[in-house]
């Protein structure tokens, strides 16, 4: 237990800081992933085949690649591309931030799955909703914002909840590119103390606690989203 104490002798504060990085990374990725996912879903739902195809290429790529590979491609590829660009423009090399690379890679993966969730939610909304809104004289954007989106959130929420839990777990991959998240700090602790099983078990438990807390939060959100549905 002493190993987990805070301060110089224990690893409690390091692990806590790791949890903070993990949580903030997931929270920072979420809005970006949701936004891209929603836009991709709108594109997939379009009547225009060109736009639909462009959106499907996106999902095929980022759902087909291992998350780890996406992360490396963004991290090393971004590093090389930006370095070349920076050297051309300013004459010195550029260091890609592993936090930003992780965020972008996770957002790409999250959004490709989210777009499928949103798409099936779109299919759950009857055409009458659009027709009714147009009949009331609402513009296309206002129809989307005021009529479709509130229903879409309710329909998409179960799928998005799963994706959030996946996102929380996928953040562990950024430890490989050197971001000091929970797993990376655990690795450091293991390197010093040689108590591998103990520390990795603690890390797993912390991930479990995070997902349990998320589940409670998501249940509240889902209750809020279902507020207009009456009791069933």
């Amino acid at each position: 237990m002493e190993l987990l104490s805070f301060g110089d002798s224990g690893w409690g504060d390091e692990l806590a800081r790791g949890v903070l990085v993990t949580v903030t990374l997931a929270l920072a990725t979420l809005p970006l992933g949701l936004l891209i996912g929603f836009l991709i879903a709108v594109a997939k739902n379009s009547t225009e085949p060109l736009l639909r195809n462009a959106a499907h290429v996106y999902t095929t790529i980022f759902r087909g690649l291992p998350e780890l590979l996406t992360l490396f491609l963004i991290y090393y590829g971004g590093q090389m591309a930006l370095s070349a660009l920076w050297r051309l423009l300013f004459g010195y090399a550029f260091e890609v931030n592993s936090y930003l690379a992780g965020m972008i890679a996770l957002a790409l993966v999250f959004s490709s799955y989210a777009s499928e969730v949103f798409l099936s939610a779109f299919r759950g909304i009857t055409p009458g909703q659009y027709e009714g809104a147009y009949a009331l004289g609402l513009s296309r954007s206002r129809t989307m914002l005021l009529v479709i989106l509130p229903q879409l959130i309710r329909l998409a929420l179960p799928g998005l909840s799963n994706l959030w839990l996946n996102l929380l777990k996928d953040t562990s991959l950024v430890s490989v590119i050197g971001l000091t998240d929970l797993l990376r700090n655990t690795n450091i602790a293991v390197g010093v103390t040689k108590q591998a099983f103990f520390f990795f078990f603690v890390a797993c438990s912390l991930y479990l606690v995070m997902s349990i807390i998320s589940s409670f939060g998501l249940r509240r959100v889902s209750a809020w989203a279902e507020r207009g549905q009456g009791s069933r």
């Binding site: 594109a43 379009s46 009547t47 225009e48 085949p49 060109l50 736009l51 639909r52 195809n53 462009a54 959106a55 290429v57 095929t60 790529i61 759902r63 087909g64 690649l65 291992p66 998350e67 780890l68 590979l69 490396f72 491609l73 090393y76 590829g77 090389m80 839990l165 777990k169 996928d170 953040t171 562990s172 991959l173 430890s175 490989v176 797993l183 655990t186 690795n187 293991v190 040689k194 108590q195 591998a196 099983f197 103990f198 990795f200 078990f201 890390a203 797993c204 991930y207 479990l208 997902s211 349990i212």
Partner: protein, 275 residues
């Protein structure tokens, strides 16, 4: 107020022409961007073609594909085996058995696979003496076996949920009908419930296989030289991004081919359900 001309009654309405709508332009631009990206990747692979590198790392990458393949197949099969008792536990009305199965499934589905892999591979190092005494050290010393073990346990949790969910989805009337025909529960399960449940489970199983192929890349972090591992090795030697692109193409093609094949199989197997 806008003034609209009354439609002329003499000419037939012009055939609807495809107009340059915003969506169409956006689609064209995005597709052009994809094409540009694809072309630049092809260009990069062609210009950067280096027979020496191919000769040096090609066989390693091929070997990596082979390792990934049997890692995934072995994990899926072992996972399927382990998932059966877990699924039975998940369906059990006994709170203790149900609780254990739930805990197992919750742990493996709620924590990152990478952390589980570290737990098994590095965690085993803490019990070297015990494992040596039990004769298991040979097993836990090898990163490949640790990866297989972790992946099997992990996919077993997911497969158990798929199986249990599919069995639950079979209406209880099927059980009652079998019961009234005097069939034993085991026969009912094997001949009536499972055939219907497995049809429902087909799609999730396919997804699980694909997720497993993608997740197997994690084995590379504990030094297993699978496709990802060999790619990382080659990259660390050459610092040539091409190698990652090749790996990406291989993974994409594998996943896409498998997805299409699975879809075909599903269509074939559910043809009696289509209306």
């Amino acid at each position: 107020m806008t003034y609209v001309d009354a439609p002329s009654t003499e000419r037939p309405p012009a055939a609807a022409r495809r107009r340059w709508t915003g969506a169409r332009i956006a689609g064209l631009i995005l597709l052009a961007l994809w094409a540009l990206l694809g072309l630049s990747i092809v260009y990069m692979l062609v210009v950067g073609y280096d027979p020496e590198k191919i000769a040096k790392y090609g066989p390693r990458i091929l070997n990596g594909i082979w390792v990934t393949l049997h890692l995934v197949v072995l994990s899926i099969l072992l996972g399927a085996l382990i998932s059966i008792p877990v699924a039975i536990g998940r369906l059990s009305h006994n709170p203790i058995i149900g609780g254990i199965a739930f805990g197992y499934s919750y742990f493996f589905r709620g924590t990152p696979l990478l952390a589980q892999t570290f737990l098994v591979y590095y965690g085993a190092g803490q019990f070297t003496d015990v494992l040596k005494a039990a004769g298991l050290w040979m097993f836990f010393r090898d990163a490949y076996f640790c990866a297989v073990l972790t992946f099997s346990l992990n996919t077993a949790a997911y497969q158990a949920e798929i199986l249990a969910g599919a069995i639950r989805s079979v209406p209880s009337g099927q059980w009652q009908a079998a019961d009234s025909l005097g069939l034993r529960p085991f026969i009912t399960m094997r001949k009536i419930i499972l055939p219907q449940a497995l049809i429902t489970a087909l799609r999730p199983y396919g997804n699980e296989v694909i997720l497993m192929i993608k997740a197997s890349a994690i084995a590379s972090i504990i030094t297993v030289l699978d496709l990802m591992g060999q790619t990382r090795y080659a990259f660390s030697k050459t610092y040539d991004l091409q190698i990652y692109i090749w790996a990406a193409v291989i993974y994409l093609v594998t996943v896409e081919v498998l997805r299409r094949l699975w879809e075909m199989m599903e269509r074939r197997l559910t043809r009696h359900l289509r209306r």
